[in-house]
């Protein structure tokens, strides 16, 4: 067994203490504070009053933007996670093939992962500007367009762009998770499949997919959480305009808490988001604990 002897029963807990302390203070306390605030009366200046029951939650749900925002959040999470998983998988398949310059290609694909979201979002915000945006510039220069096109005529289109940027920055993570899975597949499986006369699609369905499923599951669940919590893209490109029509739950929460001084409703939204995340987290734990049997 890969363990070492310990002298006292309490020694392992001593080793865990610093980490436990750090996480308790800065992760658990905020959670408790948010829960307490969501059930308390909160004045505009943020002073906590007595117990308020579900008043804050009722305020949050009755917020005129709440319905749209929940719908947006669902669209945002499903489209970004779904499409980036699909594209990331394809990219990983390609990067797993053997070709000249594969190392360089892999290094380039990692770029968006290493770049701050707020910077990526600012760049894309500039690219799709109508008057002087770079996309129009490039397309006009290539002769593909004759006149500048307004890329963001309606808020639906703007939201679609935001989803696009979300997909763009999420792909590398999926790609590298899948790639790690692909590299661990023994070539013998493919040889056996070839001997049995399986074509590309058959190999994909019966060899590749089952074997990369663990990495794919991990990346998908983690992505659901990251994408749900993603703030800078929407905040930089539209700031939720017009009238919260492009907001997600996180950006609305931020606006309500720090611009509109509706801390009560904002904490209730936090709790709602928190509960949604708990469900995702529970799912993730079940999946990742499955491999931890020998602990």
């Amino acid at each position: 067994m890969n363990t070492i002897l310990i002298r006292h029963k309490w020694e392992p807990y001593l080793w865990l203490l610093p980490s436990l302390l750090l996480m308790t203070v800065f992760v658990v306390f905020p959670i408790l504070i948010v829960f307490r605030m969501s059930f308390s009366e909160i004045s505009r200046s943020g002073v906590m009053g007595g117990f308020a029951g579900f008043k804050n939650f009722i305020d949050a749900v009755n917020d005129k933007a709440f319905g749209t925002v929940m719908k947006n959040t669902a669209v945002w999470v499903v489209s970004v996670v779904g499409l980036s998983t699909l594209f990331g998988f394809i990219v990983a398949m390609v990067l797993n093939a053997d070709f000249h310059g594969r190392k360089i290609a892999r290094s380039i694909v990692v770029f968006p992962w290493a770049t701050s979201l707020v910077i990526q979002a600012s760049v894309w915000n500039y690219i799709i500007k109508y008057e002087y945006g770079n996309l129009n510039n490039v397309l006009l220069n290539l002769g593909i367009l004759k006149n500048a096109v307004n890329w963001r005529t309606t808020y639906q289109i703007e939201f679609a762009w935001e989803c696009g940027v979300g997909i763009f920055v999420t792909i590398p993570f999926v790609t590298f998770c899948v790639l790690a899975g692909l590299q661990s597949i023994d070539a013998a499986y493919y040889e056996a499949a070839t001997v049995d006369g399986a074509g590309f699609w058959k190999k994909l369905r019966h060899v590749t997919l089952p074997l990369v499923r663990p990495s794919l599951t991990v990346s998908t669940v983690l992505n659901i959480i990251y994408v749900f919590n993603s703030f800078p893209i929407v905040y930089t490109i539209t700031k939720g305009a017009p009238a919260n029509k492009t907001d997600t739950l996180i950006t609305l929460l931020y606006m309500r808490a720090f611009y509109d001084q509706k801390k009560g409703a904002a904490t209730a939204m936090s709790v709602i988001g928190f509960v949604i995340l708990c469900i995702a987290a529970g799912l993730y734990m079940v999946i990742s604990m499955r491999g931890e049997e020998e602990l």
């Binding site: 800065f26 905020p30 968006p112 290493a114 707020v118 600012s122 760049v123 593909i144």
Partner: protein, 518 residues
């Protein structure tokens, strides 16, 4: 490497020949079709304080119509009018009507080549490439001629976008937008050649004088040369090599990878060129050069003046602090998780995984309140602690994976020799686990460096901002100084991208194998 190319099967050779001939026919057809459009403003007149329909309008209009009639013989002429209405602050209105008579000419590729226009030479090269490729593929049977045919077919493919780009730039941009004094000689030469092409020197000086705003559009139809080039390439390959399928698959793979890299690098290209432009260029909607006309390196000097170095310093401090705290707390925990047996291990792991789920964003309000209670709001130290805490999960995850993958024999030996557990960790395990530790270190560092949301909420003093928040000072509500924004974004991005590239390989194995399988 294969030394010999297998002799192509006769059937392949025949198919290849058909494809090559089709490509040639398509090229010749495209070259002969009048698909190049030239728009010329022949005559223009501005008339201030004119309202549509009034007397003044009528008289100017008549004058313009008369002028248009003069040019009706050359090409398809057209009268355009633009009305600009302005309402002054006192409520009165003024307007300006601009009339322009434009002519449209359609020409084919032969005319462009013979006219001596700059784009004509590219068209000529393109045509020569197609012909050489055709001849080499058609006549030659050796390895060399095959190579030549393929190379020139590839050249054709590359020349089409090059042509499109250069062409549009030379005409529309040189003439239409940058009429600067320095380029007058170029412009008059261009105008003269355009005049020759359009009017066969008949209109002479008269037209040359009027050619003020000539724009030139080659049409979309020219992209038709691209499929023609593809056909040519496939045909040549078929004639040379029996196995077209694998060659094409390889080609498609490279095309995909190149397209992918272009798309991913595109935002960085935008960041780079915009960061080095002058303010006039970034906000000019008519400015259409792919690269800055003038590279303004002084943008970097300007952003330094506006405190970017301080923000970078703050970021460095914040990320190093967060990394240090994260590792000091994380290494012992990961060590215990990897090497010791105790009750509640599973519970702790569950707690770690749970904490990874909650990005600080959803807890913003709680964090802000906690920090003000601890008197840590608006301090870099507060940000350090938050970042360290929220990165604990990943740090423990990665470190534990590394420790588990290293055998504990050495440590056990050290323990028997009288070393205590702490000594075993620091003297034996840590040096061996160095790559994994560096990976974790860089990963936490980058996460803290790129963090944005918590910093916006917690930091209110301008001089304490990290760089991700600092760059937003260049985008105020109605005026965004893009060149400064991107110049500082560049400074904030390059170091972390390089750092990330160093750990990329270790990170992936750490995240999946170390984490999931345990």
């Amino acid at each position: 490497m294969k030394k010999q190319i297998p002799e192509a099967a006769p059937k392949n050779r025949k198919t290849g020949l058909i494809l090559v001939l089709t490509a040639l026919a398509l090229t010749i057809m495209l070259f002969s079709m009048p698909i190049f459009r030239t728009d010329t403003v022949l005559f223009s007149k501005k008339s201030a304080n004119t309202f549509v329909g009034d007397e003044k309008y009528q008289s100017v209009r008549a004058e313009v119509e008369q002028a248009a009639a003069q040019y009706a013989g050359f090409n398809k002429t057209e009268v355009r009018e633009d009305v600009t209405l302005r309402t002054k602050s006192d409520g009165s209105q003024s307007s300006m009507v601009t009339f322009s008579v434009t002519s449209q000419g359609w020409n084919n590729a032969w005319q462009i080549i013979t006219s001596g226009l700059p784009s004509g030479s590219i068209l000529a090269i393109l045509l020569v490439c197609v012909l050489i490729s055709f001849l080499a593929g058609f006549l030659g049977r050796s390895r060399i001629s095959g190579g030549v045919a393929v190379a020139f077919a590839l050249c054709t493919l590359l020349l089409v976008p090059a042509f499109a780009m250069l062409n549009t730039r030379i005409f529309s941009r040189s003439i239409g937008t940058v009429l600067s004094g320095a380029r007058e000689a170029d412009i008059s030469a261009l105008l003269a050649s355009a005049d020759r092409l359009l009017y066969g020197e008949k209109a002479g000086e008269d037209v040359a004088k009027l050619l003020g705003g000539m724009t030139y559009n080659y049409t979309f139809a020219l992209w038709g040369l691209l499929p023609a080039g593809m056909l040519l390439l496939c045909g040549v390959l078929l004639m040379q090599n029996a196995r077209l399928g694998s060659t094409l698959a390889r080609g498609a793979l490279y095309c995909f990878v190149i397209a992918l890299c272009i798309v991913i690098l595109y935002p960085y290209y935008v960041m780079f060129i915009t960061g080095l432009r002058s303010i006039a260029e970034t906000n000019d909607m008519y400015f259409l050069h792919m690269l800055p006309v003038k590279w303004v390196w002084s943008n970097f000097y300007d952003i330094v003046q506006r405190g970017v170095l301080r923000y970078l310093g703050n970021s460095l401090l914040l990320s190093s602090g967060a990394t240090l705290i994260g590792l000091v707390c994380g290494i012992p925990a990961a060590y215990a998780m990897a090497r010791m047996r105790f009750r509640g291990k599973k519970a702790f792991l569950g707690f770690v995984i749970m904490s990874q789920m909650f990005s600080p964003v959803v807890l913003l309000v709680g964090i802000a309140r906690l920090m003000s209670a601890l008197k840590l709001n608006d301090t870099v130290a507060g940000l350090m602690l938050i970042n360290a805490a929220f990165n604990q999960a990943f740090a423990i995850w990665l470190l534990r994976g590394t420790f588990v993958s290293i055998s504990s024999e050495m440590e056990q030996a050290a323990c028997i020799d009288g070393c205590n557990v702490f000594g075993a960790l620091t003297r034996v395990l840590l040096p061996m686990a160095a790559p994994g530790i560096v990976t974790t270190l860089i990963f936490v560092f980058i996460n803290a460096w790129n963090e944005y949301t918590i910093s916006t909420v917690l930091i209110s003093t301008s001089s304490r901002r990290p760089i991700t928040v600092g760059i937003t000072q260049f985008s105020s509500f109605n005026m965004i100084e893009w060149q400064y924004l991107f110049a500082s974004a560049l400074l904030a991005t390059i170091p972390v991208v390089i750092l990330f590239l160093c750990i990329e390989k270790h990170l992936v194995t750490g995240l999946t194998s170390g984490g999931v399988k345990g």
